[in-house]
Structure formats: C-alpha cells, structure tokens
C-alpha cells in the first residue's frame, strides 16, 4: 500500500472515532449548521490525530480545535488524548532564520504562515516548508476521503429517488 493510501486509512480510522465520540455527546438533534461544524471539527481533529509525530501543524490544529469544543466534554477527551501523545516529544520552535528575503517572498511567506496551523510560530523558513509539505499531504487525504463519502451519499440518494 502506498504511503498516501496509508495516510488516508489512518485518517478514516481516526475520523470514525471522532465522529462517534462527538455523536455520543450530543443530547438533542442538531440543526444543519451545528452538524456541519461537528463534521468539520471531527474531520480536522482526525486529520491532526492521524499525524502521529511532533509536527507543529498537528499540535496547533488540535489546540485550535480545543477552543471550539468548550461544551463537548467527550470531544475534550479526544483532544486531551491527542495532546498527551504529542506533548512528550521535544520540539524547539524558535530558531532564527538567516536568510534575506525580497519583499515578494517575505509577503508570501507570511501568507503561508497564516495558512498552515501553527505556522506563525515557526521562525525557520526551512522548517516552515517541511511543515507545509507534511500538512498538504494530510489535507489532501482529508479532502479525498470526505469527497468519497459525499459521492457515495449522493449516488445512493439518486438510487432511492428512482425507486420512489
């Protein structure tokens, strides 16, 4: 199995877990917006949790997601588990980059930092690019899996409509 397929498999496994956990914590039926936020949140947490290792983006994403789950004790439990797993790995974020960038590169580097979770914490440009590459792989896996689920759903929707 290719590395990318393994990434997708890992994401699927984690997404199932986070969906179940968020689902269990819900007392009342959710409206569409609430459900959308729950799906997106569970998907983001799953993507970060699938990245076992000490990347800045996965830790930042989990910590960012923590702010959105203030009312969901079960979701907090997932985050705590993920955070503990990552906490023990040492990671020095502050290193001084030693390059002189032209304004175009500097501006776009700042933009990239704002797009990658935790990017604003990374001072070393080399490190930022490595994080970006890693983040892109998992982001693509997230999109591919969600796309597949959405496609299955709409196909079966058409089939049942025909039978009615």
């Amino acid at each position: 199995m290719s590395t990318y397929n393994m990434v997708k498999q890992e994401f699927i496994k984690k997404w199932i877990t986070t969906l179940h956990m968020l689902d269990c914590s819900v007392e009342h039926p959710l409206n569409v917006t609430e459900r959308k936020n729950a799906i997106k949140l569970s998907s983001d947490i799953a993507m970060a949790a699938a990245r076992s290792g000490s990347t800045v983006w996965s830790r930042a994403l989990i910590s960012r997601s923590g702010n959105k789950t203030a009312n969901k004790p079960v979701a907090r439990r997932i985050l705590k588990k993920a955070r503990n797993r990552l906490k023990n790995r040492c990671l020095t974020l502050r290193r001084n980059g030693n390059f002189t960038a032209k304004s175009g590169v500097r501006k776009r580097t700042e933009l990239l930092k704002s797009l990658v979770p935790g990017g604003e914490l990374i001072k070393n440009k080399d490190y930022l690019i490595r994080e970006t590459l890693d983040y892109i792989v998992y982001l693509r896996a997230q999109v591919d899996v969600m796309r597949t689920v959405a496609a299955v759903d709409s196909v079966t929707g058409n089939l049942t409509n025909d039978n009615k």
Binding site: K36, K40, N98, L112, I136, M146, V149, T160
Partner: protein, 92 residues
C-alpha cells in the same frame, strides 16, 4: 575544525541552495500548475510560495464545502434508509 563546528551549529538555521532546490522540487510535485510548466531549476521562490498558498486555500475551501454537503445529505437521511446503511458500512 572550526568550520565543521560552525557548519553544524548553523545547519539548522541556514538553508543551503541544495536544500532549497530539493524542497522546491518536492513542493512542485504537489502543485499541478507548476508541474505542467517547463522543468527548469530556476523557479522563483515567490511563485512557488504563491501557488502553495493558493493550493492550501483551495483545499480549505473544499473541506468547508464538503462539510456543508455532508451535513445536508445526512440531514435527509432516515435511520433505515439505504443511504444510512451505506454510510454506516463505510464508516464502521
């Protein structure tokens, strides 16, 4: 000797040309637009960064749209419908 020491201590903080070329090469694999253009070593860093940012933004937008779609699709799913069964089998 001092050269090696200074090289080791600054390795973490300075990007060598080789590293930059290597990283830009890896980034280009992910960026469909750049992949189609001519394969020259001299790709402007600014352009690569811009394409990368666009790509990430597009992926973010897709995740948002897909979350929307999934929540709407699941809205119209009955407990016992075939859709529910498929989703259940897919996710379990």
């Amino acid at each position: 000797m001092s050269n090696r020491r200074s090289r080791q201590s600054s390795r973490a903080s300075r990007i060598s040309d080789d590293q930059m070329i290597d990283l830009v090469g890896k980034l280009r694999q992910f960026l469909p637009e750049i992949r189609e253009r001519r394969r020259s070593e001299k790709v402007s860093a600014s352009k690569v960064l811009q394409e990368t940012c666009n790509y990430i933004r597009n992926l973010h937008r897709e995740v948002d749209n897909l979350s929307d779609r999934l929540s709407q699709l699941l809205d119209s799913v009955d407990e016992d419908s075939p859709e529910a069964a498929v989703i259940r089998s897919l996710l379990m």
